[in-house]
Structures are given as C-alpha cells and as structure tokens.
Symmetry: C2
Subunit: 161 residues, 2 copies
Amino acid sequence: MDEKTAARAQAIHRRAEPDYRWEGVERLPYKEDDRALFKSVSRQILFSDPDLAGELRYFEVAPGGFSSLERHEHMHGVLILRGRGRCLVGTEVRAVDPNDLVTVPAWTWHQFRATTNEPLGFLCMVNATRDKPHLPTEAELAELKAKSEVAEFLGDASKQT
Amino acid sequence: MDEKTAARAQAIHRRAEPDYRWEGVERLPYKEDDRALFKSVSRQILFSDPDLAGELRYFEVAPGGFSSLERHEHMHGVLILRGRGRCLVGTEVRAVDPNDLVTVPAWTWHQFRATTNEPLGFLCMVNATRDKPHLPTEAELAELKAKSEVAEFLGDASKQT
C-alpha cells in the first residue's frame, strides 16, 4: 500500500463530532474581517481530492453573522444543514430552513445571514478549479440597494465598501 | 432574460419538503432489482448543471434495503443525512450515523445498508463526467467474502451473482 492509498484508507470513514465538526477535518475558527466584509464565519473542507472535480465544504455563520457579499464565475450548490437564516442571490432575498437548496449561478451576488438566535450551517459544492471572488464596488453596492428588500437585507453591510 | 436564465432564476431556492424530498426535484421511487443487486433505493438529483464539475445526489435506502455492491473509476464523497446503517468500503465495514462522512476511492467496492427500523439517506458527490459502475463477478464476490466481516455484511446479497 503506497502512501496515498494508506492516507485514503484511514479516511474512509470520518465520524461526525458534536456541534457540526468532523473527525480529521480542520475547522477554521470564527473570525472577523476588519472591513466587515463578512462576520463570524467558519469553514471546514469535507471533500477535496485530486480525483474529485468538485469540492464539498461546510460553512457555519454564527448567530447574527453573515458570509461575504461577493460574486464570481464559479457557481455554488448549497444545502442548508443547520439553523435558519436568509440569503441574497442576485436581487432575491429568501428565508432558508434546514435541507433547503440554494443555487448561486455564475456572476451572481450572494450572501448568507444567520438568524440572531442560532448558527446557520450549510454545505457548499463548488468546482475544485475556480476563480477568486469579486467584492462589490461602491457603485455595484448602490445598484444592489436600489431594491429596498436588498437594502434591508444588507443592513449594516452597507458599511462594507 | 433568456430561457436558461429564467429557468435558473426560478431554481435559486428549492425548499425542503417533508420526508427528505425537495421542491422541483424528481424522486425516482423505491424500486426492486430482479437480480437483487440492490433493494429499496430512491434517488434525487439535487445539483447538476453545465457550470458544475460535480453533481450532488440524495439517495435513500428503505429500512432493510441496500444499495448496489459495485465499483468504478470515479470516487464518491458521501455525507449521511438521515438514519443509521452500515457501509462496506473495500473490505472495511463501518457503522454510520447522521453527518458522518464516507469516502469511496476509485475502484473500491462499496455498498450502503440501512438498519431495519429507519431509512438511511445520504448525499453523494460525484464528478459530472464519470464511468459506469462495474458489478462483481462470482470470483470477486468470493474474494470479498473471504473476510468473515464482509461475508456477514453482504448477507443475502450473496445471491446477487
């Protein structure tokens, strides 16, 4: 058994641990962004392998937190695993519940926000090879906020540019 | 808005429905295989898109049922979403619980079995472009069953060749 095979054999089964952590999966702790581009988001990479064209990650947004408002060429396939919140996709704001599916097409602005009383955790499938996210310019943010529902959703994130 | 954009706009948010079904997602009903290669498995394709290199599917095995014993070049990234059961990966048998991760490397025999009292539902990420599964020959099945734990796991599936 070569090294690669051995490493995989060990990783055949990774048990779920309490509070949406996983055996053998590094959890990037909650962190804050100085420019308030995101707030209280942690990330765990569940599947990433040279033999997989996609990656599966688990993101968790703490109560009251939010993911980056961004867009990019690659698309997202999201499944809500834990908690409740709202998401912005393009100029649509939706309330999301466990097991709901959210599709973020290419070049579409998006952000996930947890409710104030529980974390929002979601799986996100992406292409292993993908471009870097773009953040909104002031003009783009103003354009997004032209829709009152979006302005309300973004709330304090208006300070982000 | 062209047709493709319109179809996507409609599909930005697909709500979870009771019993692990999803709005707008076709559910292939439980079916039985005449040769007992699998038993009581349903499938729903959650994410499949020309812009995604991977696909995310939800499989559900009814109580007492089992997925095909098969192997193939493409690998699987599995997250248990519902219920409990056991899986075979190579010659390893593991008990699986909700949120557990199972990695099925290339060319590795695998099968999922639900417990007798609840369905076993799992997400499975695969490459969008992939080869077809291979079923075991009698010789391969005999080789697998040389390990008593595997023979016990396969149980009635011994009739499958």
